[in-house]
Symmetry: C2
Subunit: 249 residues, 2 copies
């Protein structure tokens, strides 16, 4: 059975998350239904990142083994035809070897979190941003974010229900930039703990408001205690932007 690597964009607002669950529609479930309609098989679509309910993606990666050995562009078009009218789109499909595993081969994940920072609520971008009305100091947020970069025990920023074996991770980048009213928090790591990015953003908001300093963030990190960190930012602003692999596969 030929294996295909899929790069996927989706609006997660109305989904229970990536993972197939009994309590509502999932991205994985929609893709598996599309693969079944295309190939008449019970396909397993394995994703690189199990995004939560309401979280979006512009560069989620998954793999699937299909019974039809069509050209990758035909695979992409067929899956998209069966995904209609859902807000899920297979941007590209590539044929890969059985050695490729979307989740276990990945060595980098990149996320972006958008904050709309203005007095008026969002209209056009409501589904893709967290609205924060109070003015935020982006320079202070970026400076405090650098405290978190590197290899640390991230227990403070890990959801209580996180199933990862270890809270120790290496954070490669955490940047806070502003473009007009829009603030972007972009981050890269080999992998992330459950709610890690949203807990970073909820904490950095406190810095942006002037209620916390970079030293407070460092103390929270050192506490290794979820209750020492800031609140979890809402899912709506978060987007999985890319998944990296060691070679071109």
């Amino acid at each position: 059975m030929p294996r295909f690597k899929l790069t996927i964009e989706y609006d997660g607002t109305d989904y229970v998350g990536w993972q197939r669950q009994a309590n509502g529609p999932s991205i994985q479930g929609a893709l598996e239904d599309a693969a079944r309609a295309y190939c008449q098989i019970d396909a397993l679509v394995q994703g690189a990142g199990r995004t939560d309910a309401g979280v979006h993606a512009r560069g989620q990666v998954a793999h699937v083994d299909l019974t039809r050995d069509d050209h990758p562009d035909v695979v992409r078009n067929a899956l998209n035809a069966h995904l209609k009218p859902r807000p899920i789109s297979v941007i590209s499909a590539e044929k890969v070897t059985e050695a490729f595993h979307a989740r276990f081969s990945a060595n980098e994940r990149g996320y972006r979190y958008l904050i709309l920072n203005r007095r008026a609520p969002p209209a056009l971008d409501a589904r893709q941003v967290w609205w924060v009305a109070a003015p935020l100091n982006v320079e202070a947020m970026h400076e405090a974010a650098q405290v978190l970069v590197g290899r640390h025990d991230f227990t403070t920023f890990r959801a209580v229900q996180c199933q990862a074996d270890s809270p120790v991770k290496t954070l490669d980048a955490l940047d806070v930039t502003r473009d007009g009213e829009m603030i972007a928090v972009t981050t890269r790591a080999r992998s992330f703990l459950h709610h890690q990015v949203r807990n970073f953003v909820g904490t950095l908001r406190l810095v942006g408001e002037g209620r916390w300093t970079a030293a407070d963030v460092a103390a929270a990190l050192a506490a290794r205690d979820r209750s020492a960190g800031g609140p979890t930012a809402p899912s709506t602003g978060l987007c999985l932007m890319h998944v990296g692999y060691p070679d071109a596969s």
Copy 2:
């Protein structure tokens, strides 16, 4: 009665357009309802640009006379509270004199039209782009667009039902740029004819596909005949970005 200038953002997808109409919800109607709920008056909200059904705005401007002389930030917040949960947001309110008229004082309108140019359909940006799967030559589109800049009889690009007195207008700018998969057509003029931007975009698409040349666009313009122009691009990609006034009012 104090007059307020409002700058407004909206997602026009589910609206019949700016103008109050009997056949469905309008942006103007929603704003007038919000003003009525706030001030208990039958307010008339006058907009600078009467955007069509499905067209968006990030910088529509309107004026309204209110009975309450609150601080402009209070006006903005009160209107937004009454607009909830509609995808319409008053970005700012300013007190202006009675000499200010949102439509008649305006001396510039700026629009942006977004084309998502890739094989896969849009997921996250579906409500704000026109999806064109065939690769478009942006340089050729931009070059052909320059034929339209300046003072011309734009009958070829004017909807048959257009109510403007004259088809002669001065187009100040029409630029076509690409950022990855996203193509932006941005344009500025004192005023536009009905469907003018969408007819420009539908015609420039023919150039981007290599079916038309800049000379074909010039010939179409010279024909002064709507049937000589390209098709009307869909409303979904169009957004009113700003309205300019001669002074700070």
